[in-house]
Symmetry: C2
Subunit: 357 residues, 2 copies
């Protein structure tokens, strides 16, 4: 390894509102050295997810908060570049918590163990962080376990152009539901309808979004796959049919208020509407359900092979752009999965797989 510098983001303060360079400091450090039963992983792709923002706060969300001074946590795909582990060889591609860093040490201290990826990789390996990984499995669990849309029902998916929403809506379509999305631009809405096959998609930045949503859901709403929160959810809940199911997956509209001293309005759900419609609200976190990954990824792969799962990745080049890209995600800059391309794989075995793109 000629590389001696490890660039990484360390959490210096828990953000209050939008993240600053002061909160999440980008710096250079020596590459960690490894000892027995450790491997050194070079990050290739880093997944950026809205819920990562929760780990920056004091909230315990499946895992403890990132400690002050710690490397920012994040899932990624990496390549083993040095190994003293019997189960990992140099050149293996692995998935795990690489963190927002060039290098990670794979050992028993990882909150999620690194796992060697089976070859061959899919044509777009970064999809293993998105539609065929955590994001897709999230969509699968929310739709199949909670929303359970039936043929002819109306399902609304918020952040429909996002990594999870785009997949959730396509699963809803595969189950025969009428699927209506919301997204933050006319371009995104067109893409959601044309590429992902939603029946309609409403631009929530239009002043008459309520009227548009009402017109697109003339028979009321039977299912909500919620990624956003805020006043859109409030309006959707007011249109629930009896027996409706809501998968509460994410609240990106709120996350930047976590830790804020400013008592920003948080998303709340009107209890009367739930009572009158005898609704079910189920929240869930994919990281609780590692046992479901084989079932879910098998379903998603079949859906893709059947031509019924279109997915996009927004790939931003360079670890140095991770913080800005993450922040822009809260403004709706990405379509599909947001991934940072950190490095190219070094070994031929990986390059050969990637050449199949």
């Amino acid at each position: 390894m000629s590389q001696t510098i490890n660039r990484c983001y360390r959490l210096r303060h828990r953000p209050s509102g939008a993240i600053t360079a002061d909160d999440l400091e980008f710096g250079e450090e020596p590459v960690p050295s490894i000892g027995p039963d450790q491997a050194l992983v070079r990050t290739l792709w880093l997944s950026l997810d809205p819920a990562n923002r929760i780990w920056m706060s004091e909230i315990h969300y499946n895992m403890p908060p990132v400690p002050i001074g710690g490397v920012m946590r994040g899932f990624g795909i990496g390549e083993v570049v040095a190994s003293q582990r019997a189960d990992m060889n140099v050149g293996d591609l692995v998935s795990g918590i690489t963190g927002w860093a060039d290098y990670a040490v794979a050992d028993t201290s990882n909150l999620v163990p690194f796992a060697v990826l089976p070859m061959p990789l899919p044509a777009q390996p970064q999809s293993l962080l998105g539609a065929l990984g955590n994001s897709g499995v999230t969509a699968y669990l929310g739709v199949h376990d909670i929303c359970r849309p039936r043929a002819g029902e109306t399902m609304v998916v918020t952040a429909a152009a996002g990594a999870v929403g785009s997949v959730a809506g396509q699963i809803g379509k595969a189950r025969g539901a009428r699927v209506v999305g919301t997204a933050g631009s006319a371009v995104k809405c067109r893409h959601v309808v044309r590429a992902y096959g939603f029946d309609a998609c409403i631009n929530y930045r239009d002043t008459n979004w309520r009227d548009q949503l009402d017109a697109a859901t003339p028979d009321g709403i039977d299912n909500i796959f919620e990624n956003v929160g805020g006043q859109i959810l409030g309006h959707l809940v007011s249109r629930l049919n009896v027996g409706a199911r809501i998968a509460l997956c994410g609240l990106i509209a709120d996350y930047n208020s976590y830790g804020s001293l400013d008592p920003a309005p948080r998303t709340s759900i009107d209890a009367e509407q739930l009572l009158i419609s005898r609704a079910l609200v189920g929240s869930f976190l994919v990281l609780d359900h590692s046992d479901r990954f084989p079932e879910a990824t098998s379903y998603l792969t079949d859906l893709k092979d059947a031509g019924k799962l279109v997915h996009d990745e927004t790939v931003v080049n360079g670890l140095d752009r991770a913080r800005d890209a993450f922040e822009q995600m809260f403004n709706g800059a990405n379509t599909g999965k947001l991934v940072i391309k950190v490095a190219e794989p070094a070994r031929m075995v990986a390059v050969q797989s990637l050449a199949r793109r």
Copy 2:
């Protein structure tokens, strides 16, 4: 029948806030006459339930709103006093929507068909409107289908001295949970612990109720059986453990605001708390689940026979006191099921059954 007067309450206006005599007018009318395939039912006991308030509003809650000018809807037990129906004989005791009236006509126009009660009746026939009827089945469905408490979990039941809450908590105890109630007086709280066997009960009128609730739920809260709403629910939700389940059964704190021009604060549930705890919120209405009554009443009867189901009825004598009694229920006047005793049964068969009290 020597009786020729039918006293009844008719809905003149949809109430705005607390019900007035102007909204729900008590008057005298001729007893209805019956024709072919009709029976005349004399009301004996009338069930008063918080959710009846919803029927007075414009909300469709399983059944259409009570029409303006219509007799107020309510479940009751009655006696057939005249019959041109092959399936009903004079003297039969029946359950159904008697309404807030001395007499009802049992025919195919009833939203819920009248049903002849099997003999012998339980020692307290009014319990068929409470712990062994709609209220008990409501508790059964909420606990078994939604809360699903496991041994060692902590379950909180609001309105624990009420018809539904008292049963819900006892089912939770039978399932091995630690059960904590809330009620509106020290006397009620003592009764909830001593008679119903709850582990603790907090008087929400104490200024330090939050501290008391926290002390009574040191391991957090795994299940909520919610009958009330308001700020207590908000506090409970802030203490949810991961994987918590909430049965949203009623919101008595809010009902009197329905139809009010005053924008009173309605109960809302903080979405972040649900997300972080991956909670499930399920609302339900017993009237949707008539198919579950045999299963539920069998369970409740067994629980009672095993000495694990204690139930109370607050019996108020006289139909003329129904409106005031209903209104007082919103102030927490009753313990257990609130029933209006409208009349004594006329026939020997019924009297003999009742003599077993």
